[in-house]
Symmetry: C2
């Protein structure tokens, strides 16, 4: 079998002849970026073959790679079938998600109200006059005769009791003893809150007795090998039990990596973690739990369940205390998941009396409106444009991404993350760029890029050097190849502007429909909350400029950070917040936009660029 | 590795050099009788080496086998270490337990009151106007929003629903959905009741909608490779987790064999069996559940638990519906298990107002007394003498066992099971023999066998030919070698009479102490119930003659069959009886005999033979 060496990770692996490099990298445990699930259409899974014959380029490679790049050994890993030994250089992904993990809020002011209780007891010694069985002795001392216990814990209990001078500690959740531990461990009580995103998975380790976040980490959702969006993943899972299991295994493995990292950071033993709370969109919930998501995809978009599912960690193979409780918060509808529910929890939308909208933009876009005593939610087919997918040089928010573009003093001011030479454009850079182009008069309300050369009356002539003809229409050069990391121009294409237009139009249309249902005028909105990492980095002014949001005063717009993740942490830290979460699906009205008669008209109206 | 062939089963196996034949037979899945766990002291694990060199006999073999037998290739399988290829003939065990399985009572007059409920529903189809999730749709239709469900069942539910025109059947126990099945299967509801004996495991398959036993089967408890009695098994389990697991694996494998056989007999699918109820002594309960039994052995004899343990079938690896409930009924004390509780249930001792005692003699002996509004229980160190262990030619109740001996018209009338040529003596034969010797005046009250030759004044001279000198004292010849299957005399030895004396004395002493505590005189006992297969076959008159029981009119004594097994079946069939079972441990006073000051005196008094 051919042998592959991946650098700089220095991973070696033997693979079957004919395996493509994307699959091989996955087998080796490496992550190569990509959005099209190996179809060769996104052109993002570039690698450089530094030893061995790269073979003839495919059509897709010719499209996405220049002659020079091909000559240097660059290839698209999804296109390259392995026939012989190769050494492959994988471009290092600067951790896009690290930015997300800095947003670990939500529990600062919470009172610790853990669901799991730890109680240390010293039992009386048995004797012929008191032959009470060990378990009964424990339950009597705890004054909890109703408790049940797993065989796993009971099995070694008699020896543990006698080896520890009859002092043990019980971890109790509801009417279940999760764990019996030797000696007094009552001061150790930990849990992990997960935010299972389509793109990024984030985990926070909490000390539940202090309601304190003590470590945070994140990783890429490795399900992306099956596609960047939820529909691709549903389609794969629909193929059969094996395929569903593949997707479940991927997310569970990633969760275990996060757990391992959190425990390593804090030197806490896995058995002292008794709870996991997870939020995510409805598809992520189904895949995490291994439940068939097939019928989420076609209308009428029916989930298998909406309530919170509570299972044992061992059932899912999650590496915390095996009897630990894993709770995925309830979803509201097929495309409004517990991540949105987390946003509602964290922003207290369910308690607000003002007219308030929350917009969570991740790989999908969900909206919530609290108005006139009602709480409504909908999802929009915003697509992952804001995370850089389907954007020609789109990338996630990592070093070298164009993240801020402003039109100041009649010129463009462009910033990249970490001030690194530009590689591509991330979500906030995309919106900023489009807004700057609106400001500069280089796009019209229909979203058409204007070439100053052809339309000297419409667009300033001084920018004619920044507009060029690309493969598919005009392109605006943000950073010339001479200044970029790749040597190529970093551009915003007409296609990119269309993608953005569809995405922002979908969100704005969703908001318009929620307002219409609630009989609230746009100008009567008291507040708009922008959730998600995206919401945190996007400039309000740009969002207003391109018409992602209604015409509101910028001070009415607030970024609330990763509110979904905050909601997860809050539900982990507080029993009463968790109970609020369980009751929420019954209080939120879900609007299904896709089948509404008025959707098309409102959507078209929402597509306009500029205000 | 040497290759062994076992005949007549024709099983072939390769084993490590040095493995003994007893272990090898176990590895091959064969059962060889034996009581001493391979110590070479019981002499019962005989096999015949028909091909290959048997090697030199060990001391133990010389003791238990005659020169002639050794010359013929007979060996003790525990003594024979394998060095080369051998063909080994294993004497067929005529199924001793088949007699036990004919006693499948307990539920004839019960009203069916199943704990698991099956409900078929036809759900309305989802639509954009009604996007209720599949699970919520089901629970709403069932009007049971409180139900929980296993991921295993939920995983494929969406597809099942749509492939079956939205008709499914739920099996519900308490607040759990055990199973969701395609279409309407509401008429299929089965459960299995187990009686886990130290020696024999019995299973009954019940149609729970009719409270009807539809198949019964039994097998030897394969834990016997680790010793015939509970103490040997506790000792083995105490050695470590691995050893405990070995014992658990044995009993679970045997239970699965029984399940397989029951399902094959009735052509019922395993997934339609939703419940298992088990009874057994406290050690069997611990080993079945895989819980450390170490502290049952030394005083103060403390079980790990006494309540009923309810677990999922999949946790134990039992081959019924994976989410099926397995309930081991509660034990009362370290040596008074749920088998005794089953006896109380079946005989309704807890409801009786008369003075009534129940005696269950199996591998151990337990007693229950209902008197003066109290319900008391104790265990006795009766040992397995009544099952033929520690008796020179003892055997279980299978073909060729001397089962009935009467002294009629001044002579002995001897019957064997199936009228087959005699091989040995079973429990009822042992008691009958002793009683007949009392009647014939051949033993005195101290249990000494009288040789008519030496004591012509005490014992009839005509029996002097039936008394001979054995290796360890006198022996009474029940069947001369000329008439026996083995060619050897079938004898009752002085040693056998002593074993019986200790066993019957222990039981009688236990009863005496219970009566003393209850302040009831022996003559005020209204009824004595004899439970267990033994109780069914023993002649009351003989039991009275040897002083196993107090001097009562024979009509006060009733054999109640396998009451422990009956109790198990009843608790399976009826929810209210099961609830009665759960409450029983709190109602039964346990007396610990072994540490009582008065025990020795009462025991010595109870040893007397004859009345």
């Amino acid at each position: 079998m051919p042998r592959l060496v991946f650098t700089p990770q220095n991973k070696e692996i033997e693979v079957e002849t004919g395996t493509n490099l994307l699959q091989a990298a996955d087998q080796a445990g490496l992550y190569i970026e990509g959005d099209c699930a190996g179809k060769g259409t996104c052109g993002k899974c570039r690698v450089k073959i530094v030893k061995g014959d790269p073979g003839n380029p495919t059509k897709a490679e010719k499209k996405h790679l220049s002659e020079k790049e091909l000559a240097e050994g660059w290839a698209l890993s999804c296109q390259k079938k392995v026939k012989e030994d190769l050494t492959v250089e994988v471009p290092v992904q600067k951790e896009a998600h690290l930015r997300k993990t800095t947003l670990a809020g939500g529990v600062e002011d919470l009172e610790a109200e853990p669901v799991v209780e730890k109680i240390a007891v010293k039992l009386s010694r048995p004797a012929v006059k008191d032959q009470t069985a060990d378990l009964e002795r424990l339950l009597k001392q705890l004054d909890r005769e109703d408790l049940t216990i797993k065989l796993r814990e009971l099995s070694g209990f008699p020896g543990m009791l006698r080896n520890n001078n009859y002092t043990v500690t019980a971890a109790i959740a509801g009417n279940r003893i999760i764990s019996i531990e030797p000696g007094d461990t009552s001061d150790q009580l930990f849990g992990i809150a997960f935010d299972i995103g389509t793109t990024t998975i984030m985990g926070s380790l909490l000390d539940l007795q202090k309601a304190e976040v003590i470590a945070v980490t994140a990783t890429t959702n490795p399900q992306n090998i099956y596609g960047a969006d939820v529909i691709s993943r549903i389609n794969h899972a629909s193929e059969g039990k094996h395929e569903l299991k593949q997707l479940q295994d991927k997310v569970i493995e990633a969760a275990n990596e996060i757990i391992k990292d959190l425990l390593k950071q804090t030197k806490i033993a896995r058995d002292r973690v008794y709870e996991i709370i997870a939020v995510g969109n409805t598809t992520m919930s189904h895949l995490f739990m291994g439940v068939d998501p097939t019928y989420l995809a076609p209308a009428p978009f029916i989930p298998a369940y909406s309530r919170a599912l509570e299972v044992e960690a061992s059932e899912l193979g999650l590496d915390i205390n095996p009897a630990g409780r894993v709770t995925f918060l309830p979803n509201i509808a097929g495309y409004v998941g517990s991540d949105t529910l987390g946003v509602i929890l964290a922003t207290e939308m369910d308690k607000r009396t003002s007219n308030c909208a929350a917009i969570d933009i991740g790989t999908n876009g969900e909206l919530v409106l609290a108005a006139n005593g009602r709480l409504m939610a909908c999802s929009t087919a915003a697509g992952p444009a804001f995370e850089g997918a389907q954007i020609k040089q789109g990338m996630r928010a990592s070093a070298g991404a164009v993240e801020a573009v402003q039109f100041i003093d009649s010129d463009f001011v462009i910033d990249t993350i970490d001030d690194a030479p530009a590689i591509g454009i991330c979500g906030s850079g995309l919106i900023d760029s489009a807004a700057a182009l609106v400001d500069a008069g280089l796009i019209d309300k229909t979203g058409r890029l204007i070439n100053p050369e052809d339309n000297p009356d419409q667009a300033p002539d001084k920018f004619k050097k920044r507009i060029k003809q690309g493969d598919n229409g005009l392109e605006f050069i943000l950073v010339p190849g001479s200044d970029s990391e790749t040597g190529e121009d970093i551009v915003l294409s007409q296609g990119d502007l269309r993608e953005l237009q569809l995405a922002k139009g979908a969100i704005y249309a969703g908001l318009k429909i929620l307002l219409k249902e609630a009989e609230v005028k746009e100008e009567d909105l008291d507040e708009v909350l922008l959730a998600g990492a995206f919401g945190n980095y996007v400039r309000k002014e740009s969002a207003l400029t391109i018409g992602l949001l209604p015409r509101l005063a910028p001070e009415k717009i607030t970024a609330v950070g990763n509110a979904a993740g905050d909601g997860s942490r809050m539900a982990l830290a507080s029993k009463s917040i968790r109970e609020r979460a369980f009751a929420l699906p019954g209080k939120v009205e879900h609007l299904e936009l896709s089948t509404r008669q008025d959707f098309q008209e409102i959507f078209v109206d929402a597509l306009k660029y500029g205000q």
